[in-house]
């Protein structure tokens, strides 16, 4: 597994802009407070064991679905972030580059689940790690010649210039990554941001490099990294 090239790293930095915007969207409407406990009984009365020693389903059933909150209330800690990224991209046999990146960056990750501990260095570390993890994911999918067998990048021709990845193809990538990583389709606002990023990304490529296929990979890598380092991935 090869390490990130300088150019790719530069593009990941560009992706930080997207992450910032994405993070803003993620926080929007949330007050980041822990959920309040408003139900009167403590639920313990319903926890009667079944014959196999496990709580009977009926006793902890649908009422919990109704009371579930979607507000973020806890932060994933260092190894949780690492293994979440590994798990989401299905790279249990991850590269040394990913392991090394974690070793370098793990000191910036949180060790407690407190949302208030989010800080700049932590976001940079998470972004950096997601870049390396996505590098592994992109490399794996790039190696699959039959595009119909690719999970995320079926609309991408890695051998062609970036102009060949049109808006529809790019939206397909964003949608598939979002569906898998975040468990939901991207909102229209998020799609707008990503498409703006694509436009800005292409505009920033020097004319001499615009025809390079590597730019296609860089755009996809940046997009993957942005989604994998989004707030929803490293919070509950």
């Amino acid at each position: 597994m090869r390490n990130l090239k300088f150019e790719n790293k530069r593009n990941i930095k560009n992706a930080a802009i997207v992450i910032g915007l994405f993070g803003t969207l993620s926080f929007y409407g949330f007050n980041c407070a822990p959920p309040s406990f408003q139900v009167a009984d403590d639920g313990s009365a319903s926890l009667v064991l079944s014959s196999n020693g496990i709580v009977p389903v009926d006793d902890v059933g649908t009422s919990t679905l109704e009371t579930k909150t979607d507000l973020p209330f806890a932060l994933l800690t260092a190894e949780q972030v690492f293994f979440s990224m590994i798990n989401l991209t299905d790279q249990q046999n991850f590269s040394n580059a990913i392991g090394d990146e974690y070793a370098i960056r793990s000191g910036s990750f949180s060790v407690i689940p407190d949302l208030k501990t989010v800080n700049g260095p932590m976001l940079l570390a998470i972004t950096s790690l997601s870049g390396e993890v996505c590098n592994g994911l992109v490399a794996r999918e790039q190696a699959i010649a039959d595009v119909s067998q690719r999970k995320f990048f079926g609309s991408v021709n890695f051998a062609q210039a970036i102009a060949n990845l049109n808006a529809a193809g790019y939206t397909d990538v964003v949608t598939k990554l979002s569906n898998s990583f975040l468990g939901r389709a991207p909102s229209s606002a998020e799609l707008t941001i990503f498409n703006s990023f694509r436009t800005d990304f292409i505009a920033a490529i020097p004319a001499a490099n615009i025809g390079q296929a590597a730019q296609t990979r860089a755009l996809v890598l940046s997009t993957c990294s942005a989604l994998l380092s989004s707030f929803e991935v490293f919070s509950y």
Binding site: L47, G53, F73, G99
Partner: protein, 425 residues
């Protein structure tokens, strides 16, 4: 509204409801998996799809059980749970150690969690299942000595990300805790470790990590304090008792601090009555030369009774104080609020007992208390639900603790019932 329109409306409402319920069930399945394994899962992962189907069939408990079979459960959730308890800093930013590996092993093997405090065993990497680059500590006593008993190298190697080990699955239980009696150094040859059985095994309480964290230097009060902090979930100030017996308070504690005996009576004494009563359990334990020391095995800085000098040091501060002559202990945390908050049940839940000899019996007293079960429930709840309940809901922990006992102190099952508890959401 004609019949057709009514049917269409009902059908639309029904199908909308079915779709919404399906999404809710899928979210619920993903939620259970993510809480128990401690990591995020792709919404389209086959296991999540399977789990959603099970939730739809009313099998949430079975989903929770399946989630505990995933490697991340041991390697992330349980590992972090254990690491936090293993050192004085209470941080997870440390490598794997023998304390955490043993807890992971006990959870994996579904054995009685009480043994964590008095069992005569520990866990290492199974030589048959780990890379050859990690030396075999079972077959070679010198490797056991240098990499497990005299350093943390073995566990750090297991934990190395680039070894990509499923640590939880490669751990192997080793019965019989061990200590280094001596290291024979011969010029030009590797050190020869003389390894003997631990005469006072106390599960993770006598692990190298715990002894290093709490028995190093000091006066061996910290092992007592941290045993209660970690396994009873009680900081010292919450079980201090100024009205209890001061007969066991050592000679190094000033009875007239600043010339004021009242200060001792109302402040210092409250912690030392209960703490010094138990301190004798560690009278023979120290951390020296990078390894645990038990004076029966290696005399170290101890007296003729093999009691460490540090237990009786500063003996002129109050010469009338208690002189430690052996490793006996007395439970003085039995009156006032302590009479109820611990739920003492002796050393075996059968015979009442408030005295004992050594760490092993001390561990048995703690492990068989009601408070231990409640504390484990509280810790597991926090570990899996990522939050703590307000004090007004302490009954929830008690309830989970009671179930934990009825499940034969099976930690894996405790994780399952905690994750399914309505308050976990």
């Amino acid at each position: 509204m004609n019949l057709n329109m009514l049917s269409a409306a009902l059908l639309f409402g029904l199908s909308s409801n079915v779709m919404a319920q399906t999404q809710a069930q899928k979210d619920d399945a993903k939620w259970i998996y993510e809480r128990i394994t401690g990591v995020k899962w792709a919404a389209d992962h086959p296991l999540i799809t399977q789990a959603a189907t099970m939730v739809a069939a009313g099998q949430r408990a079975e989903v929770a059980a399946l989630a505990t079979q995933q490697p991340q459960f041991l390697n992330v959730t349980v590992k972090n749970f254990a690491l936090e308890m293993s050192t004085r800093d209470e941080t997870i930013r440390i490598p794997l150690n023998d304390f955490a590996a043993t807890i992971m092993g006990v959870v994996r093997d579904n054995t009685d969690a009480r043994e964590l405090l008095y069992g005569d065993f520990f866990y290492v990497g199974d030589p048959a299942r780990i890379p050859a680059s990690i030396p075999n500590v079972i077959a070679n006593p010198n490797e056991m000595g240098s990499r497990v008993l005299n350093s943390n190298q073995h566990y750090e190697a297991l934990d190395s990300k680039n070894n990509r080990l499923d640590v939880g699955s490669v751990l192997m239980r080793v019965n019989g805790q061990r200590l280094v009696e001596n290291i024979i150094q011969v010029s030009g040859q590797p050190d020869q470790y003389v390894i003997v059985a631990n005469p006072d095994p106390g599960g993770v309480l006598t692990s190298r990590a715990f002894i290093e964290a709490h028995a190093v230097a000091g006066t061996n009060r910290r092992p007592v304090e941290y045993t209660f902090r970690q396994f009873m979930c009680l900081p010292l100030e919450q079980w201090a008792d100024a009205l209890s017996s001061d007969v066991r308070i050592g000679r190094d504690i000033d009875r007239f601090p600043g010339g004021d005996h009242m200060k001792f009576q109302t402040s210092c004494k409250s912690c030392h009555t209960v703490m010094d009563g138990f301190r004798g359990a560690w009278a023979k334990w120290d951390f020296d030369s990078n390894r645990a020391l038990q004076t029966t095995v290696r005399q170290g800085a101890s007296d003729g009774n093999r009691v460490l000098n540090k237990l009786n040091r500063n003996n002129t501060v109050f010469p009338g104080g208690y002189v430690t002559t052996n490793d006996s202990w007395v439970n003085h945390a039995v009156r006032g609020v302590n009479a109820t908050q611990f739920g003492w049940r002796g050393l075996d839940k059968v015979t009442p007992a408030n005295t004992g000899i050594g760490v092993n019996s001390f561990g048995r007293l703690v492990a068989n208390s009601q408070r231990f079960s409640t504390c484990m429930a509280k810790r597991v709840f926090k570990s899996v639900c990522r939050k703590e309940l307000p004090d007004s809901e302490i009954a929830t922990y008690s309830s989970l603790g009671t179930q934990f006992e009825s499940l034969n102190y099976n930690m894996r099952n405790l994780y399952q019932i905690a994750a399914l508890h309505p308050r976990c959401k």
